[in-house]
């Protein structure tokens, strides 16, 4: 074993590539052996090649607090995470099942509200939520699909079991990094691809395109599809451009669109107005239409909701989808699967304590030092408190927050997230990671092979969000015996 791997130890965690005994897992054997065969110098050189590729490809993302500095190289780790196709197929089915149930739920909530009437989900937590948009009542999008693009976060516990941590149904991002990470890995370690059968990920824009085409209100061979971005200063602008280009669609900002008296949406082109059929929106619904939501929004398009409600334009994800993207509602997803699909949930939820329930709240307050507390309605890792990593003062602060607004907090046991070998400071060390696959749903349901693996680059850290200093890895779903 060469020096960079010396003293690699999985500890009490499940490691994605290495067993507790220290040998490579079957699917990862070649990859691990390859990386172990590299000397410290060679590893450095590969890393330099990857960094050059990133710089040249211009992968960058924004963190809001960094103000004007809108370029920052995306931290990338070149050692891929490897999962066997057999194991993945089960996960993939579980994700598809989940997304179908979530869409049944949203469609039900804005129409008949059967699940509330049957008392499976308490009505007050749905109808009283900020994410419930009365403007969407009575709308029936095609195929009953509201959340067309879902980015669910998966983690593994110390035994290697997958859990769904949350379902992102509003404007989940990261898919472009999934595609680019593969590109970079190909440049940094081309030899590895020779002996592996790795499921490709670069057809994602095509799958997205097919999904969106199916939504078009007009029957046309090539409907007009646009990607609606808040603009260059948004953290995911790179991705918006990437997807628009991959689909041959227009990348538009609110000022490029107008809604006519006929309730159709038009884009302003050099030939005059051109009708838009499908909008893939990457802008928060609250900013989407100043007529319907926040009147002060300058990012949106006045009249867009009107156009959508009258069926003249399709919007993905549909406004209002966020009603199911809430950490309290999350706790009920297994019940939804049983209720709507009459199936047994294939993927586990993380056990979740709802602070609105008296019994749960008492437990949370008593055990706050051992739990992870999350606000029900935030994303991007903001406002989370990891009990074991926090001070007594923080525990007290969150206890007060919970008592003040119990509906807005949930708590979960601290999971021992899985790790994978990661090249940090000249050594290969275990770092915690999660996985965000993307699920597309309109006429059909489709799941990405793998997804975006995010890795917490700081030792011992469990926070993988790019906005919190996380990095990412290529994710391989490999077929056959490696």
């Amino acid at each position: 074993m060469s020096k960079p791997w010396r003293r690699y130890s999985t500890g009490r965690f499940f490691d994605e590539l290495i067993t507790h005994g220290g040998s490579p897992r079957v699917a990862a054997r070649r990859a691990v052996n390859f990386f172990k065969s590299l000397s410290a110098d060679e590893l450095r050189a590969r890393r330099a090649a990857a960094e050059l590729a990133i710089k040249e490809m211009g992968i960058s993302f924004t963190v809001y607090t960094e103000g004007e500095n809108i370029d920052r190289a995306w931290p990338f780790d070149m050692i891929p995470r490897v999962i066997s196709a057999r194991e993945w197929s089960g996960v993939s089915q579980g994700l598809a099942q989940r997304t179908r149930a979530l869409n049944c739920f949203i469609d039900d909530i804005y129409n008949r509200q059967q699940i509330l009437a049957d008392g499976v989900v308490p009505a007050e937590i749905v109808l009283g939520s900020d994410n419930y948009k009365a403007q969407c009542e009575g709308v029936s999008p095609r195929f009953g699909a509201w959340a067309h693009i879902c980015g669910s976060d998966l983690v593994r516990d110390h035994r290697g079991r997958f859990f769904v941590l949350e379902d992102n149904l509003r404007v989940p991002s990261g898919v472009s990094y999934m595609v680019e990470n593969r590109e970079i890995t190909k440049r940094a370690v081309p030899e590895l691809f020779r002996n592996y059968s790795i499921l490709p990920v670069d057809d994602y824009p095509l799958k997205l395109y097919e999904m969106l085409v199916a939504l078009s209100p007009r029957a046309a061979r090539r409907p007009n599809i646009v990607v609606l971005t808040p603009g260059i200063y948004n953290s995911a602008y790179f991705e918006h451009a990437f997807l628009a280009q991959g689909m041959g669609a227009e990348l538009v900002e609110g000022t490029d669109l107008t809604v006519g008296d006929d309730d159709c949406v038009y884009m302003c082109t050099v030939d005059g107005p051109v009708r838009v059929d499908v909008i893939y929106r990457r802008i928060d619904e609250d900013f989407m239409d100043p007529e319907a939501f926040r009147p002060e929004s300058v990012l949106g398009v006045p009249g867009l909701m009107r156009a959508w409600r009258s069926g003249k334009v399709a919007i993905a994800n549909a406004p209002g989808s966020g009603v199911a993207d809430d950490k309290v509602i999350y706790a009920f997803v297994p019940d939804m699967i049983r209720y709507y699909l009459k199936e047994k949930p294939l993927l586990n939820n993380v056990p979740t304590y709802l602070c609105m329930r008296e019994h749960d709240r008492e437990y949370v307050l008593k055990n706050i030092g051992r739990l992870v507390v999350k606000p029900a309605n935030e994303s991007g890792g903001y406002g989370i408190m990891v009990g074991p990593h926090s001070s007594a003062a923080q525990h007290r602060k969150f206890s007060r927050l919970i008592e003040k607004d119990p509906r807005n907090y949930i708590a979960q046991p601290t999971l021992s997230l899985s790790t994978a070998p990661t090249y940090v400071e000249g050594k290969v060390q275990p770092r915690h990671l999660d996985l965000r696959p993307f699920i597309l749903q309109s006429k059909n349901t489709w799941v990405t092979p793998g997804g975006l693996t995010r890795v917490a680059l700081r030792k011992g850290s469990l926070v993988v969000n790019s906005s919190q200093g996380g990095g990412s890895k290529d994710t391989w779903i490999v077929e056959g015996k490696a």
Partner: protein, 312 residues
Amino acid sequence: MSMLSSVAERLFWMSRYLERTQDTARLIQAYNHLIMDIPKGAEPPWDIMIDILDAQPLFRARFKAGSEQNVLKFLIADDKASCGIPFAVKAARENVRTTRDVLPEEAWELVNELHLFVEAHAGNASGRRNRHDFLSEVISRCQMINGLLGASLPRDHAYGFIKLGRLVECADMTTRIMDVGAGDIMERAGRFGAIDPLLWGALLQALSAAAAYRREVGPIVEKDAALNFIFLSSTFPRSIKYFVRETRKELMRLNNHDLAIRAVERLRRRLTRLDAEHFTSGELHDYIDDFQLQLTSLDAAIQATWFSWKNV
């Protein structure tokens, strides 16, 4: 498929900034060559380049003396000077960043690389030793981008607006160089007669016209022929005549082109009034001044017709 007005506008400006980058680099190169061949005392001042770029106020706010070092620092290393290379490259990159979806994927990589190159090396490139290599590299990277766009863009709106941007910027630069450069040589009125051919040659160099001129006119460079060549050559792609013809062609392919075509027609009529043999340096200046006014009105017509019609 049509094109978003906002995208068309950014492509137009991306193209203008790339052309500006290249033209400025060529201008400095040509002046650099010239200065080494000319006896001391006879050379045009360094800040003639600042005059050409119409940037005296901006320049004087930063530097007192129009010395070689200052002028080159201003044009090569200062990323706030809107007529300098780093600024133009940055502006081009910002426009590509927001139009990546209509450009070939490598366009972003190449423009980004150009930006990184300039960012890394501009600081050391204003001295005489590294200047040449730096400028050559900038020029060849610009050409690479032009080559990529020329070879891989479908001949649709994207190509059209990129071409228009390049044509307009090129005409703007050509007339500026002629105005100041030719004016300077003519004002000398034979005081340093022996070096006049050198100066005219350098002028052609700055416009990348030297080789084309030799082939079409011959090896002897003198005023009338040079002026006629730059304005009226029908084959040289940086001549004004060529600009008018190609611009007209591109505009005809667009809808609602009446306003812009009228502006081009005015330019075409101006062109017939060029009288190289009899113009004094003052008359040449007035002529070019008027021409530039018409160029500005063409620019405004393009803006109003295709970029901001929604606000009209």
